[in-house]
């Protein structure tokens, strides 16, 4: 009988000393980063829904992984996304075969979820059905032109980051995916980057979610810096908003959803999902609404976070592009927020001082975070100013404008 090699008994530990030290350090760093992310979420310093499962995924994939596979964990990431789940690795190589066996227990257990819901972008659509089912269209429909005006300005980062990213050396496809971070809409970033940049979708989406979870830390400050105090003090009465009948909302969901699908078939899955959620809600189909809003949205959000975390292996952060991504991601969000302020200030003048300029940054479409930030900022100056309902208009319009931009990018980039 052979003696048992301790290194083989604990391969995840022994591999730390066998692999390239940079990779070993990256692995340890990722375990720590994962722990920090999870902790921030648990402490509610950041939004926990995505970050906690994501952080946990990062911890466990990097503790268990004993060998950095020379092939990507899910082959699809670097190859043809549609063949991915079917393509095996090089089984004739015994080291790789052994690697795969262990990876099977730590990484591949989520492979079915990946193959069924990530490759085709379905997970983003599931989230969107849920968002649709919890979104009130009332405020948007009561003030359609104001809402869309503000939301368009709040896409500044989504527009400007595209040429910026190209200037920093990214391909058109990657640049467009990165620019969508400025739309402040996680599932939209995932959907677009899966379509346009299958090789970079993990870091792009992770960066997007990271920044979105800390958006409230800096957007309020940015609004204070960019909008004059008196424009933030405009009092808006919640009762000014007229009631919109469910019939109107259902008609809108169907006509707008149909029109946008007709214009942009590539983005139709996302657009359809959002408006399907809306109709379920407005038609008051309680059981479907509960399913979409509570079960579907929460389940999809959980798996989205966990799966993304599990995909963050050392090769992802050792890619030098990640630093540029971190810079471009925050640039996109800051630019969008400033664009929102510009729109808000313009609207203040157009409305002759009736519209609080804080509604502008609320057009950055992170529902409902940015509307909440606007409310907080308004209440800082005037305790009895409740602009939240008014802020929801541009906020929801922002979801639609971000969908439009990502649809245009997905259509235009392959033509470039």
């Amino acid at each position: 009988m052979n003696t048992i090699d301790l290194g083989q008994l604990f391969p995840a530990i022994s591999s730390l000393f066998q692999i390239d030290p940079t990779i070993a350090i990256a692995r340890i760093a990722l375990i720590l980063i994962g722990a920090i992310l999870a902790w921030l979420g648990v402490k509610r310093i950041t939004e926990p829904l995505i970050l906690v499962p994501m952080g946990l995924g990062m911890i466990f994939v990097n503790t268990a992984q004993f060998f950095l596979p020379p092939y990507p964990p899910f082959p699809s990431m670097y190859g043809n996304p549609h063949l991915a789940p079917l393509v095996g690795s090089n089984v004739s190589n015994p080291v790789m075969a052994a690697t795969e066996q262990v990876i099977a227990s730590t990484l591949y257990w989520l492979q079915p979820i990946y193959a069924l819901t990530f490759l085709n972008g379905a997970i983003a659509c599931f989230v969107f059905i849920g968002i649709g089912a919890m979104t009130d269209l009332d405020f948007l429909m009561a003030k359609p032109f104001t809402s869309f005006f503000l939301a368009v300005f709040a896409e500044l980062g989504t527009i400007l980051t595209f040429p910026l990213a190209v200037a920093m050396g990214f391909s058109y496809n990657d640049a467009a995916s990165i620019a969508i971070i400025g739309g402040a809409d996680g599932p939209m970033v995932l959907f677009t980057s899966l379509k346009l940049s299958p090789k970079l979708f993990v870091p792009i989406t992770v960066v997007a979610y990271l920044y979105l979870s800390i958006l409230y830390l800096f957007q309020g400050k940015l609004s204070e810096l960019t909008i004059p105090r008196k424009m933030r003090m405009v009092r808006m009465t919640p009762t000014d908003i007229r009631r919109v009948s469910p019939r109107e909302k259902i008609l809108f969901a169907i006509i707008a959803g149909g029109t946008l699908s007709l214009l942009f078939p590539v983005a139709s899955p996302l657009i359809a999902s959002f408006f399907i959620g809306n109709v379920i809600k407005e038609a008051q189909i309680e059981r479907l609404k509960k399913f979409a809003d509570e079960v579907f949205l929460n389940g999809a959000t959980f798996f989205l976070g966990l799966m993304l975390g599990i995909l963050v292996t050392p090769d992802v952060i050792l890619d030098p592009k990640v630093v540029k991504l971190l810079i471009l991601g925050i640039t996109a969000l800051v630019l969008s927020s400033i664009g929102g302020s510009i729109g808000g200030i313009l609207m203040y003048y157009i409305s002759r001082g009736k519209v609080n300029a804080l509604l502008g940054p609320a057009g950055v479409s992170c529902v409902p975070t940015t509307a909440k930030i606007a409310q907080k900022e308004a209440q800082k100056l005037d305790k009895r100013n409740y602009i939240i309902y008014h802020a929801m208009g541009p906020n929801v319009a922002g979801v639609i404008t971000t969908a439009i931009i990502s649809a245009i990018y997905m259509t235009i980039v392959p033509l470039m």
Binding site: F145, F148, E155, I159, F162, F252, I405
Partner: protein, 45 residues
């Protein structure tokens, strides 16, 4: 390289114009629905 930047600037210019147009279209759809429905409701009364 600069050709690529130029191309991307052109792309975002087209994108901005399209975004403005489509956002106006969607807002217009809302406005039209509101108008038509309020008229048909007016007739009932």
């Amino acid at each position: 390289m600069s050709g690529e930047i130029l191309a991307s600037l052109q792309a975002v210019l087209i994108t901005s114009v399209l975004l403005g147009a489509i956002a106006t279209l969607v807002a217009g759809i809302i406005w039209a629905i509101t108008k038509v429905l309020s008229r048909s409701e007016g007739k009932k009364k």
